[in-house]
């Protein structure tokens, strides 16, 4: 059996077929390298401009941002009187778990005063769980959920802190995608 045949065999199995179809739907490619006795290497190439993801749209300081849904574990409304302090950081208790709060305005380095949320009666918090410790991101407003097309933020602006890309929303404006790995 040639290696080409073996690849064909892998793709005959339902799971791989599903993977391949979905990757091709996004205009991507999959490569498999296999060495006897050493395992296999799967390389998936996806064009960033065509990656589609489900995202929660939020408003922070009048600007709209997208948070990829796969990083969000839940969304809460919290009364500010329930905010507690641990070592000077604001935390909330959620089912016996301490979750530290991060002000979205602060992580986006916006030119406004931070930590004003305490003056409000109730705040919207997005719990981001990206493998590590969950954090609570404070946003001004929860808007809606939608599918977004991820576009890269131009090579000129490489590695912008806390921003992973951009997308174009209904009214033709650009909304930025928060980099949850950076924030959390």
């Amino acid at each position: 059996m040639s290696s080409q045949d073996k690849l064909g065999l892998i793709f005959k199995t339902d799971i791989m077929n599903e993977v391949k179809t979905n990757i091709e739907k996004l205009d991507g490619e999959i490569y498999i390298e296999s060495k006897k006795g050493q395992g296999s290497k799967f390389t998936i190439v996806l064009p960033l401009t065509l990656a589609i993801t489900e995202a929660l749209m939020v408003k922070i300081n009048k600007e709209i941002f997208a948070i990829p849904l796969n990083a969000i574990s839940e969304i809460l409304k919290i009364e500010t009187k329930n905010i507690k302090q641990v070592k000077g950081n604001d935390v909330i208790l959620l089912r016996d778990e301490t979750i530290s709060l991060i002000d979205g305005k602060k992580s986006l380095n916006m030119n406004v005063e931070y930590n004003l949320y305490k003056t409000k009666k109730e705040i919207s918090v997005v719990i981001i769980n990206n493998g590590g410790n969950p954090i609570g991101l404070i946003v001004d407003e929860l808007l809606y959920q939608q599918e977004i097309v991820i576009k890269s933020l131009s090579d000129y602006l490489e590695n912008v802190k806390n921003i992973s890309g951009a997308t174009i929303i209904g009214d033709g404006e650009v909304a930025l995608i928060l980099d949850v790995k950076d924030i959390a």
Partner: protein, 158 residues
């Protein structure tokens, strides 16, 4: 004279106004001129980055030329808000927008007409200027966009 010879002999520049001064960049680098669209600010970037715009589905960063060139922010009363334009340039395979006060004209210049700058007003570094040219008592500063936009990028954000 064939058309080809004409092109090699002269270079076309597009001139625009930033803070009352006239600047020029090579026309070949420019892709189009658009009216300002809604700019989405991008946090954690240098302050001369105004933000990004959606140009027919493409996300393009816009550079505030006034801040990039360290020119006085004071608004030029002579040019109104309607005249403000974004010049889309194609440089090193990237599309970038330059926010300017007003776009003037396209000028044909012989390369020999461009004079070296001996001294500049301290605000703009000399290395970003390719040269200056006098047309009808008017001074146009020709910018070297590659050097201006890709000179060791300052540390972004705080």
């Amino acid at each position: 004279m064939t058309k080809k010879e004409k092109i090699t002999e002269k270079t076309q520049y597009i001139s625009f106004i930033i803070a009352r001064e006239e600047y020029g960049v090579e026309l070949i680098q420019t892709k189009e001129i658009i009216k300002p669209l809604k700019i989405t600010p991008v946090p954690n970037t240098s302050d001369y980055i105004s933000g990004v715009i959606n140009l027919r589905g493409q996300v393009i960063p816009v550079i505030d030329m006034k801040k990039k060139l360290n020119l006085a922010i004071e608004k030029d009363k002579a040019s109104s808000k309607d005249e403000e334009k974004i010049i889309i340039i194609n440089i090193k395979g990237m599309l970038l927008g330059l926010y300017v006060d007003c776009v003037k004209e396209v000028v044909n210049l012989k390369n020999s007409e461009i004079k070296d700058v001996k001294e500049t007003k301290n605000e703009i570094e000399k290395e970003f200027i390719k040269g200056v040219i006098n047309i009808d008592e008017k001074l146009i500063i020709i910018l070297d966009l590659k050097k201006l936009l890709f000179a060791k990028k300052e540390k972004k954000g705080a």
